[in-house]
């Protein structure tokens, strides 16, 4: 039995698990660099001091919310509107937090706080990937490696954006966002091992594209919830997995 126990541990040390997490998130870190540069540069442009601009990336640490908030600050929009918008953009994190509850809530406080702070789309993605491949309980060091290396990349990129200031090249034209698509496809596709998951993915996919075309606010959340609901209902209706 003891030999079985050791084979349950996929990583021989905390450091190896940390590195595996950092490696898993690396394509996503590369993809986020232009957005980090943009976040730093736009914050400066909106009238934030270099210190405030960096502080935003360091303590808010949320790409989409930061970019939108900075735009609103620049436009002179009031605090309440900014906070409501932040709440809408960040609402999907409630979903991640709920999905991770079984795995993270039994951990000690310091782990919960740090992994909670680092729980971005990207961290959620690589945890989902690891869970699928190894079918194991969460290794917190793996999650920390992914989360922390992503955090550092985001902040270094923001610092670069603050230093470059207004002279940033047209980063959107580089097409680095394809790295996000490639990574998420690589994570999701092997997970489609039941018809209900295929239904869930197809519904989310079509709905997210439609929402984006019609500029529906919170389209990401709507598309995700609809896909999840369709997958669940399909599985219930067909008695899948029973």
């Amino acid at each position: 039995m003891s030999s079985q126990k050791s084979s349950e541990k996929p990583y021989s040390s905390h450091w190896k698990a940390w590195l595996a997490g950092a490696l898993a998130v690396m394509p996503l870190s590369i993809a986020v660099i232009p957005w980090g540069i943009l976040a730093g540069s736009l914050a400066l442009d909106a009238g934030l001091s270099p210190f405030e601009s960096q502080a935003m990336s360091a303590i808010v640490f949320a790409g989409a919310a930061q970019l939108v908030a900075v735009g609103m600050i620049k436009a002179g929009i009031g605090l309440t509107s900014i906070l409501i918008t932040t709440l809408l953009i960040t609402s999907r994190h409630l979903l991640y937090s709920m999905a991770m509850r079984a795995q993270i809530s039994p951990l000690p406080l310091k782990w919960r706080l740090s992994l909670g702070f680092l729980l971005t789309d990207e961290l959620f993605a690589i945890i989902a990937k690891n869970k699928d491949q190894a079918n194991q309980p969460l290794n917190p060091w793996y999650a920390l490696g992914g989360g922390l290396s992503f955090y550092l990349t985001w902040n270094i990129a923001s610092a670069a954006g603050i230093l470059i200031g207004h002279n940033i090249p047209n980063l959107e034209s580089w097409g680095l966002d394809f790295a996000i698509a490639a990574t998420f496809i690589a994570i999701v596709t092997p997970q489609i091992n039941r018809p209900s998951i295929l239904i869930c993915v197809l519904v989310s996919l079509v709905c997210s594209v439609v929402c984006e075309l019609f500029q529906v606010p919170s389209g990401l959340l709507i598309a995700s919830l609809l896909g999840m609901a369709c997958g669940t209902l399909y599985a219930k209706a067909t008695g899948e997995g029973k």
Binding site: L23, A24, P27, I59, V60, A65, L79, L83, T86, L87, T90, L94, Y96, S97, M98, M100, R101, A102, I104, S105, P106, R112, G116, F124, A128, Q133, G175, D177, F178, A179, I180, A181, A182, T183, F184, I185, A186, I187, V188, T189, P190, Q191, I197, C200, V201, V203, S204, L205, C207, S208, V209, E212, L213, G219, A223, G227, M228, G231, T232, A235
Partner: protein, 103 residues
């Protein structure tokens, strides 16, 4: 004012990420909820990548000229056949940048 904005935004975002990780939160997820949540990763990740691939310049683009689409299809085929995440990511990204470079 900016400091206040940053602090309040940080508080909202941290709370949304941490809320359900708190064990003292009196919430028992039913088996139906857990079943529903088990679909969250494929649903959210698909909803993030699909618009990147299918929408170019604010319009639906389903054509051979869409390098995002071509490379995404290759990524899906690689993911199904190899089931290797890193290989799929690196090869499809290489293809994408080659297509862009030689267009």
């Amino acid at each position: 004012m900016i400091t206040l904005t940053i602090l309040l935004m940080a508080a909202i975002i941290f709370c949304s990420r941490y809320l359900f990780l708190e064990p003292r939160l009196p919430l028992k997820l039913s088996s139906n909820t857990l079943k529903f949540l088990s679909y969250s990763a494929p649903a959210v990740l698909s909803a993030i990548w699909a618009p990147i691939v299918f929408i170019q310049q604010h319009e639906l683009s389903i054509s051979l000229d869409n390098h995002y689409l071509i490379s995404a299809v290759v990524a899906i085929i690689l993911a199904i056949t190899t089931r290797k995440t890193l290989l799929t990511t690196v090869v499809s990204m290489a293809l994408f940048f080659l297509l862009r470079f030689y267009q």
